[in-house]
């Protein structure tokens, strides 16, 4: 490979990875925007979404389907995981967070951490389901192979640069979702209600907005994004495991912060930035220093822009 080909390839890889991170980050940033909670369970909800997708795949026997049918299968998984993760996230809010609205933010955080542990454990149990896709459930904790429904062959033929259908799938799923989300938040009644609750929940309640419902719906949408992301992630990486939520969640949260937490375009920009920085650092420095580089970048960005790249400085009402 020529140096410029290597660079281009890293660009493609970085963007694909960045898109997935961005999709998870959107879920974080939405929930954070509305109740200022770092939803630690988000990464684990995402993980459970991937397990559901694999279960659907196994139950419906999608591996045997023809390539065109497989696209339908992917759609089923996307919808299924999104509904499931959305519902799960909504349930977490209903059961574990709603009663703590008035308590300190830290209590809420601990509740989220608790939920994260519970979800992780559920993932472990799920991995033990005696199904063929889970390797018969013999080693519940082991990482699970996610079959390549979208092939990883090179669309550019024999070229040294590879663009695979999986890369394309990431873009095809992610970009419309992002656009749809921006539309939802900026153009619809529901979106207006969300923004109102985010700014001032008490005032919104006085204006007749059903605050708890709006928050619940935000959790649902955030979770659903995580669900979509989980399928995209699984199709791209082809491995899932019950502990994958932590790193994915951490990357995504860093992305949300880099972009400016609470800002939807910021989350996308942050995700792409992190994906690219990771790829470039892997290539031109050493892999073992990549995390350090990402962290250094985070600190530098926050020194120069304390509210993230696209975040707005919130003026305190005095």
């Amino acid at each position: 490979m020529q140096p410029h080909e290597v660079f281009l390839q890293q660009l493609i890889t970085g963007l694909s990875n960045g898109m997935i991170i961005a999709l998870i980050a959107l879920g974080y940033t939405m929930v954070y925007g509305i109740i200022e909670l770092i939803n630690f369970a988000h990464g684990d909800v995402f993980m459970l979404g991937a397990f559901l997708a694999l279960t659907l795949l196994g139950v419906l026997g999608m591996e045997a389907w023809s390539p065109t049918w497989r696209i339908g299968g992917v759609a089923i998984m996307l919808v299924g995981s999104a509904l499931f993760c959305g519902g799960l996230n909504w349930t977490l809010d209903r059961v574990a967070y709603r009663s703590l609205r008035r308590a300190s933010k830290l209590s809420l955080l601990v509740s989220a951490i608790g939920c994260s542990f519970i979800c992780t454990n559920l993932g472990l149990f799920w991995g033990g389901v005696p199904m063929e896709v889970f390797a018969g459930g013999v080693a519940a904790a082991a990482p699970k192979d996610f079959p390549q429904l979208i092939p990883q062959t090179n669309l550019l033929g024999a070229s040294a640069i590879r663009i695979t259908p999986a890369d394309i799938a990431v873009v095809v799923v992610t970009v419309p979702l992002m656009i749809g989300l921006v539309f939802l938040v900026n153009r619809t009644r529901m979106g207006r209600a969300m923004r109102a609750v985010a700014q001032d929940a008490t005032a919104a309640a006085l204006m007749g907005i059903p605050v708890d419902r709006v928050i619940g719906i935000t959790f649902f949408i955030g979770g659903a994004l995580g669900g979509f992301a989980s399928v995209v992630y699984a199709l791209y990486n082809n491995t899932i495991g019950f502990q994958m939520g932590y790193r994915a969640g951490m990357d995504a949260f860093t992305a949300a912060v880099v972009g400016g937490i609470g800002s939807l375009p910021g989350a996308v920009l942050g995700g792409l930035t992190i994906g690219l920085v990771r790829a470039m650092s892997d290539q031109y420095l050493e892999t073992q220093w990549t995390n350090t580089i990402v962290f250094g970048m985070l600190v530098m960005i926050l020194i120069f822009r304390p509210s993230g790249l696209l975040g707005t400085t919130r003026r305190e009402k005095v």
Binding site: L124, A142, D145, Q152, N237, T239, Q288
Partner: protein, 407 residues
């Protein structure tokens, strides 16, 4: 203040009470004519290593069941201790020290099977050494635990405060496996190798040995990188690997540190060369995690000992018994666990006095042991004399024995 005191008192009493009830049940022991000899294992049972340790414990239990829990009229009891804690999800030095101390204090305990992680062994070894309790590890491969001059300047004396050897292992150390792996890589025709390691004690150690040997025998090492076991994929790294064009990628690591994902990404990224991994990946879970199509024909796995289906005699019996008992073929770790337990049981049977000192002496005298890993003895350092290493490949989603590695 008024409602503080009851709260504290309640919490104190409740936690003590809970604890006491559990401890009381744990203390139940069965009676027998001559008495009880207790074995414990200390392995990480919570979290990511659970898959391997489960098969190990299966192996240990099988070994004890085979003697019906009785030797010379002594009852053999066994306890499966967890050296991981839920908040860590991995081995926890505090818990390992607790396990070791508990075993050391329990006078009926005559054997300690463990640890899984070499790091945990470093914590447990001095404690057990002072207690004179024999420790047999089914999995530690860090050379410095037993072999002078391979680790830090103070190793291994530092693990033997009494000067006596009480630590034995049934698996060959990294120095042997890494060297053999490099030799094999060369005989497979590799000229340029790219070496990865998971930056863990086991993976880094074996990758270092591989690198040293590879250079000695004239292969070109085009890259040496530490990976992040928690990463979601390694695509950027694969591009980097492809750019320098090696014929073989060696990964020092385990299934848990993402060997499967690396295999996948190598193929997805268009790398077409060979891929070699050590025995940390010699388990079906590796093939399942990687997807067989990514491994078939181009993946090589080294293993200290012979694989189950090549075993004859003792090993063949083990394979059948295991299959009958658990419904699946034993994996590498099951064999190690079984072997460790059997060494101890064998020593108990031979021991002149059925106590710690007797068992320790008997273990140290293990010679020409007819085990599932071959016929071997413990050398003066407590290492297995077995130098048999086997090479495997993957065909049609199954491991397939290729050859016995040797110099």
């Amino acid at each position: 203040m008024k409602n503080t005191l009851p709260t504290i008192t309640f919490i104190l009493i409740a936690s003590l009470g809970l604890f006491a009830s559990f401890a009381a049940t744990a203390a139940q022991q069965s009676e027998s004519s001559k008495g009880t000899l207790h074995l414990v294992s200390s392995l990480p049972r919570t979290g990511s290593a659970n898959a391997q340790t489960s098969t190990m414990v299966n192996g240990i239990k099988l070994a004890i069941e085979e003697v019906n829990g009785q030797i010379d009229g002594w009852t053999i009891t066994y306890q499966d201790l967890d050296d991981a804690s839920p908040q860590r999800g991995n081995w926890d030095p505090t818990v390992e020290a607790q396990n070791a101390n508990a075993a050391a204090k329990d006078r009926s305990c005559v054997g300690y099977i463990g640890t899984f992680n070499s790091g945990a062994a470093k914590v447990a070894m001095p404690i057990l050494n002072r207690a004179g309790l024999v420790m047999v590890s089914p999995a530690n491969t860090y050379p410095g635990l037993t072999k002078p001059g391979t680790g830090e300047a103070n190793e291994p004396m530092v693990y033997r405060p009494t000067g006596k050897i009480n630590y034995f292992r049934v698996v060959p150390a990294d120095d042997l496996q890494g060297t053999q792996a490099a030799n094999w890589a060369k005989s497979l025709g590799a000229k340029k190798v790219f070496i990865l390691n998971d930056r863990e004690l086991y993976g880094k150690g074996i990758a270092d040995v591989f690198q040293k040997r590879a250079k000695e025998i004239g292969m070109e090492v085009v890259g040496f990188e530490g990976t992040d076991a928690k990463a979601s994929n390694y695509r950027p790294l694969v591009t980097k690997i492809k750019a320098v064009g090696p014929d073989l990628v060696y990964f020092g690591g385990t299934t848990q540190s993402n060997a499967g994902q690396i295999a996948k990404d190598l193929r997805a990224g268009g790398y077409e060369g060979l891929y070699m991994v050590p025995d940390g990946c010699f388990e079906q879970a590796f093939i399942e995690a990687a997807g067989d199509s990514n491994l078939n024909d181009k993946t090589y796995i080294t293993f200290g000992g012979l694989p189950a289906e090549k075993l004859t005699g003792r090993g063949a019996t083990f394979r059948e018994a295991y299959h009958k008992r658990y419904g699946s073929d034993p994996e590498a770790y099951a064999a190690y666990g079984y072997e460790a337990a059997r060494v101890l049981l064998d020593a108990i049977a031979r021991a002149k006095t059925k106590d710690r000192a007797g068992v320790l002496a008997a273990v140290a005298e293990t010679v020409d042991f007819d085990g599932v890993l071959g016929k071997w003895s413990f050398d003066a350092n407590g290492d297995t004399s077995s130098k048999v290493m086997s090479g495997q490949t993957v065909k049609n989603g199954k491991f397939e024995f290729v050859k016995v590695l040797g110099d």
